[in-house]
Amino acid sequence: MSSDLTSVPKGIAGPSNFLDERIGGANFLKRNLRKIFPDHWSFLLGEIALYAFILLLLTGTFLTFWFKPSMGEIAYNGSYAPLKGVMMSEAYASSLEISFDVRGGLLVRQMHHWAALLFVAGMMVHMLRVFFTGAYRKPRELNWLIGVLLLTLALVEGLTGYSLPDDLLSGAGLRITEGVAISLPLVGTYITFFLFGGEYPGEDIISRFYSLHILLIPGLILALVSAHLVLMWVQKHTQMPGKGRTNKNVVGAPFYPAFMAKAGAYTLFTFAVVAGLATFTQINPIWLFGPYTPADISAGSQPDWYMGFLEGSLRLMPSWEINLFGTSHAGTLPLSVIIPALVPLGLVMTGLALYPFLERWITGDHREHHVADRPRNNPHRTSIGMSAIVFYGVLWLLGANDELSANFQISLNWTTYAGRVLVFVLPALAYIITYRVCLGLQRSDSAVVSHGVESGVIKRLPHGEFIEIHTPPADDIEAHVRGKEAVPMLPVEADGAGIPPKGMRGPLGKLRARMSRAYGGEKIALDEGHGHGHGHEDEHAAIGSGEDRSLTH
């Protein structure tokens, strides 16, 4: 019987042998099927984007069978009664056809749109996980850059896709795109005419965006996603600190069968969430918007969520513009468009791309890292991240200030005034609060390691003092906490003669040294009894004695 189980059936052995002898797959599979993947829920977040992308390719292909990327005018003659006889572009008419006259068309269109929203959202939560755990550090900086590029491409892909149905809402987005292009100094008009093939809106933009949307950008995304995954595979996934986990090993489950089953299940989960949303919740009801004409605009015109922060910055911006030589004939620099369109996006994207390199410059950390940081253990990084989230969030929220105003009875003007202040104040506040929270959590870790965990057992000592007995933490928890590593710092101390080390002497060097001193170093040491130095072993922290307040941590 046992020989039956160990021998390979002929139906499998034959073809696999055939393949192995020709492409040598067995060796490759033997090496890679047992690849170990560490287990943590947050490591699956990037897969949301991956599976949403697969779904986008599938549903998008379906949509191309009926969509006509043409701006030729026709009279609508489909089955949606309130638009009967209305003149519209073929692109819009074919989108209506997909929605009302193609079997399953509306469901697939809605799945495509929901998958797009989750695609970008999945990328962002994945990026935040990578950022806060420091998983972008050496040797993974290049993969981080690929990720930033993917996010940028996803935004462009979303923008072009949003414009394709040529409905009134998408036209509003297109108009803003044109406004941004034309606001660029000197080259603006040329770029706009080049992009639109003449005066806005022209007759070319839909077919051009179509090529970009279904061919060029998805091709680039596919290539970069592959590179992203191959690099991840080759460099191995980072792992959270824990028992037996070091910078030299990977602890987890093998790709086959455990990780493959989990990834397969997660694919199905993602598909199910997208299909469920598309079935029960209406998205982008283009038939309500009507066809695009440049003369019409609607209240509540909004971009999809991932462009919301640009919308918000545009809405918050004061109406500044500079007329060269005091006259608009000589040329106008519309700061009210250029600044909100380029500055927040530039800040966020450039900041993301440069962060690993800036951090390395400040900490002087050139080592490889395969164990992720817990966010609390690098408080300045975490605070910078939270600050950026709040900055983005305020802009994003105020991109919807008309809906806030209409639905919550707040004056529209006040949302704008408040936003102009909050966009600067709240990120600063978030920085301070996050920093304090991180230090507090570090203190609590330190308490767990050096004092143990509260047992709930109160003991009375012979002289009448009450103490609570602390028990040592569980192995895995202690190992997880002890994975903490001080943030590296440059050698910034001046020598005996008061001369700072090389490279820290000029103004830039002094700044670098100051930043390194603030950013790096151990803020709360793990084993020093969080600054008490009592030297208790098991029993300490007398209740009511008032001298040791460690119980309140």
Binding site: D39, W41, S42, F43, L44, L45, I48, A81, P82, G85, V86, S99, F100, L106, Q110, W114, L117, L118, A121, G122, V125, L168, L169, A258, K262, A265, Y266, F269, V273, L277, A278, T279, F280, T281, Q282, I283, N284, P285, L288, F289, G290, D296, I297, S298, A299, G300, Q302, P303, D304, W305, G308, N401, D402, S405, A406, Q409, I410, S411, L412, N413
Partner: protein, 269 residues
């Protein structure tokens, strides 16, 4: 002491006199009021009477803000020339009488005393002051007689920049807003276009003809009665609620799924 004198000095006499005097005054007053009220039944249902009744209603309920002669005060605009349509719109939607001054009077249930007849009477009074748009007839606002396709184009060109593509409403400056159109009756929609209440501009008959107004009413009512074909409509306000659902439902569900999947560890045997 005669008998009469005895009565006069009776302890109850003063009360009897008082009651008699009161009864007399009451009767005289009633007689005067009866005389001042036109008894003619034909006149009671006529136009003239509407104006008079409207005037007295106006003086009681409207004049504190709009002035005794509807000339306007610092708290309310003049109503000379706004027409019966404006009165009908404002009162049938419950906006007037306003409950408190603010950026804009909201739609609310009509006050207890307001009836269609009283609205008509006040309307007749305001109409008599300086003309203005009349309340449209039934046929003038019948959605079945309009062309929804044409009306949709006019709706998109003239209305949606404030009221949103599906009439869901939107924000205006300084706390003002364009209200949701879902509750407005065809007559109210017509009157709003003809009179331009609150922040709304007037779309008079030379800008948009009565037939075009009827077509717009046809589009508005068709679209708002339509069942959303794609599922729950999310308030028909577009990408804001869609993004919220994508994050709150979609990402939350997937994060929970990822926690659940990774919580399943291989059992050590």
């Amino acid at each position: 002491m005669t008998r009469i004198t005895a009565w006069r000095r009776h302890p109850l006499a003063r009360y009897a006199v008082l009651i008699l005097a009161l009864a007399l005054v009451g009767m005289v007053y009633t007689a005067f009021v009866q005389a001042s009220r036109p008894a003619d039944a034909a006149l009671a249902s006529g136009k003239l009477d509407d104006v008079a009744a409207g005037k007295s209603l106006f003086e009681v309920h409207c004049a504190s803000c709009h002035g005794m002669n509807a000339q306007g005060t610092s708290t309310g605009p003049t109503l000379i020339g706004v027409g019966a349509a404006a009165v009908d719109f404002q009162m049938s939607t419950g906006r007037m009488p306003a409950s408190n001054p603010g950026a804009q009077a909201p739609r609310k249930p009509m006050a207890g005393w307001v009836t269609p007849d009283k609205i008509r009477q006040i309307g007749a009074f305001v109409q008599s002051l300086g003309g203005g748009p009349q309340v449209p007839g039934k046929e003038q606002v019948d959605p079945a007689l309009g062309d929804a396709g044409k009306g949709g184009e006019l709706f998109r060109a003239n209305c949606i920049q404030c009221h949103n593509w599906a009439g869901a409403g939107g924000a205006l400056t300084q706390g003002k807003y364009a209200p949701n159109l879902n509750q407005a009756t065809p007559t109210q929609i017509y009157e709003a276009m003809a009179t331009g209440p609150q922040a709304m501009p007037v779309f008079n008959d030379t800008t948009i003809t009565p037939e075009e107004k009827r077509s717009m009413i046809a589009y508005i009512t068709q679209v708002r009665e339509q069942k959303d074909p794609g599922g729950f409509g999310l308030g028909r306000i577009g990408p804001v609620t869609e993004g919220l659902v994508g994050w709150i439902v979609g990402i939350t569900a997937l994060v929970l799924a990822s926690i659940w999947i990774t919580a399943k560890k291989r059992q050590k045997s």
